[in-house]
């Protein structure tokens, strides 16, 4: 898969934006580029990239740009000043993990001016097992809300339909049908269909790149 210097990951809560962002950054890294993850999530108090920053840095050499570690659990919507340097640096690759919904995407909107002339892919992640984005109509409605808040247009759709640990291949296939419908109705191309690694291995001839995901956001009883 080809990729641009900057990738922005948007979507509804629970679509798996964070897992997509982390795994996509790993993919860019594997292709030989220096890449950061920008943690722009100001709405979720737990399960954010900043919680695995050490694991990503030590294991993959991927830096998580977010608020300073000592303010990690501050209940304040703070963003790192380093985000500007990532956008302006012509060499560095970056994946932006934007917080869920329009509420989370607002924080990203402030960068729209300096992003206007940059090389950017904007993903909208779809999980049809989420009640508010269960069909093409509701997904498009959500996408418009999020686009307006983020002040940027979506360039690609990503199907990441899942049920957490209970995901089956059928979930992904069902999700892809809806994503294709969204693509037909909006003219936005599908970038890939993602699934956790064990499910991805079972998916054949999907017509799109199948992107395997290793999960990072785990509950304490899923860590062993």
């Amino acid at each position: 898969m080809d990729f641009k210097r900057l990738t922005v990951v948007l979507g509804h809560y629970g679509t798996g934006k964070t897992e997509i962002a982390i795994n996509y950054a790993r993919y860019i890294k594997t292709c030989g580029y220096d890449v950061d993850i920008v943690d722009l999530d100001i709405v979720n108090p737990y399960f954010r990239p900043r919680e695995v920053r050490k694991e990503l840095l030590d294991g993959w050499g991927i830096k998580v740009i977010g608020v300073d570690e000592k303010y990690m659990n501050a209940d304040m919507p703070a963003l790192s000043r380093d985000i500007y340097s990532v956008i302006q640096d012509g060499e560095k690759y970056a994946v932006f993990d934007v917080g869920g919904d329009d509420a989370g995407a607002i924080a990203f909107g402030q960068y729209h001016n300096i992003l206007a002339d940059k090389d950017v892919d904007v993903f909208f992640v779809i999980n049809v097992n989420r009640p508010f984005t269960k069909d093409a109509e509701s997904a498009i409605k959500y996408m418009t809300l999020v686009e307006n808040a983020a002040r940027i247009k979506v360039t690609h759709l990503v199907n990441n339909t899942h049920l957490s640990y209970e995901t089956m291949a059928d979930d992904v296939i069902k999700g892809l049908e809806v994503t294709e419908d969204v693509s037909r109705k909006t003219g936005i191309p599908i970038k890939m269909t993602a699934a956790k690694r064990d499910v991805a291995e079972k998916l054949k001839n999907m017509g799109y790149d199948v992107f395997p995901i290793d999960l990072y956001m785990k509950t304490p009883w899923n860590k062993i």
């Binding site: 809560y13 108090p45 659990n73 209970e166 009883w221």
Partner: protein, 354 residues
């Protein structure tokens, strides 16, 4: 509708709506904000009321009013916000008004932090406000169970005309799991007549009054005794618990909510080392289940209570065990979560004791 993926907080809100709750009052606080956000979106869709009050004190008194008028009403908050509501909760219990209150706990004391905790057990089960009253307290462990217990909570609240509390930690509110609303019991969602509610005098001979003030000591004493008769009934009928691998267990863990899931991990690891460990998971924290301790205290060596607190539920465990076996404690606080290997270490320490 098949399974959907939801945050605990969203499932809490949706379950309430499906249980016929059309009144929600709240004030935002992490880590339960998704309930407020969900209700702001969903209530207008179902013709309900969503109102963000100017404070928790105000919100709980709105609940008092709506519940008094017979509505199924929900309020949610997290630890410091629940503390602010205690006066109103005592009034609601005193006036015998049904409502459902959810506390998605974070670390304390004081402002504490936003990470998960279970340190409001005392506040929930021992009467956080003034006066002699009880809350019926239910503690889900999965998102599916969250949806089930929220619906049961509305039913129980109406049945006893008393507030019911859902007690979950921040993790339960924030994590996502599949949930199936179709399999929930629908009869609990039927709302029975409430002839006591302040819905206007109508054809009644007397006005209904919702009040917790009583200046005559004899009548106030009688009122207290009447309320406690309800609690005796609830203590018989509302006990809920789960037992896992207890029959041959040498040591039994006692844990509620998400920590019971960590405890189950520890049990699996212990099994690999041929250590027989069981789990008692109280689902109703008040009434506290004493039955599973009666069933197990003859054959077990000791109990180990695991909490995200400095040791609160352990007091109820000790009452239930009544000095007949040792009760040990392992806890983490401040947003730290007990880990399976650490629990296993505690189990080994207890086994080594005479």
């Amino acid at each position: 509708m098949a399974k959907v993926l939801m945050k605990g907080n969203e499932a809490l809100a949706e379950a309430a709506i499906q249980a016929g709750c059309r009144h929600y009052f709240g004030y935002p606080i992490t880590p339960q904000n998704e309930v407020t956000a969900y209700m702001a979106k969903r209530m207008p869709e179902v013709g309900g009321v969503f109102l963000q009050a100017e404070s928790e004190v105000s919100a709980i008194n709105m609940v008092y009013g709506a519940g008094g008028a017979g509505a199924r009403v929900l309020i949610t908050s997290s630890s410091p916000g629940i503390s602010l509501m205690q006066e109103g909760i005592s009034y609601i219990a005193g006036a015998e008004v049904p409502c459902v209150i959810a506390n998605i706990m974070r670390g304390g004391p004081g402002l504490g932090g936003i990470q998960p905790s279970q340190s409001d057990y005392f506040q929930a089960t021992k009467g956080g406000g003034h006066g002699d009253y009880k809350l019926i307290v239910l503690a889900p462990s999965t998102i599916q169970e969250m949806a089930e217990l929220v619906q049961q909570a509305f039913h129980i609240a109406d049945k006893y005309r008393n507030p019911v509390m859902i007690l979950g930690d921040g993790m339960l509110g924030q994590m996502m799991e599949p949930v199936d609303f179709d399999i929930l019991k629908k009869e609990e969602n039927k709302i029975e007549e409430k002839p006591w509610a302040t819905t206007g005098k109508g054809t009644r001979n007397k006005r209904n009054i919702i009040n917790s003030l009583e200046l005559d000591p004899q009548i106030l004493e009688k009122h207290n005794i009447e309320i406690f008769k309800k609690y005796q009934k609830a203590a018989k009928e509302e006990v809920r618990y789960e037992m896992t691998n207890c029959e041959e267990a040498e040591i039994i863990l006692v844990a509620y909510g998400t920590i019971a899931r960590v405890a189950k991990n520890a049990i699996e690891i212990a099994k690999r080392e041929n250590i027989k460990v069981g789990l008692i998971r109280p689902i109703s924290l008040w009434p506290f289940p004493e039955e599973p301790f009666k069933k197990t205290k003859d054959h077990v060596k000791a109990y180990l209570t695991i909490e995200m607190s400095m040791g609160q539920m352990i007091e109820d465990v000790k009452i239930a065990v009544n000095g007949q076996k040792e009760v040990y404690f392992y806890g983490r606080v401040g947003g730290m979560v007990p880990e399976p290997m650490a629990i296993l270490e505690e189990i080994k320490k207890i086994r080594g004791k005479k």
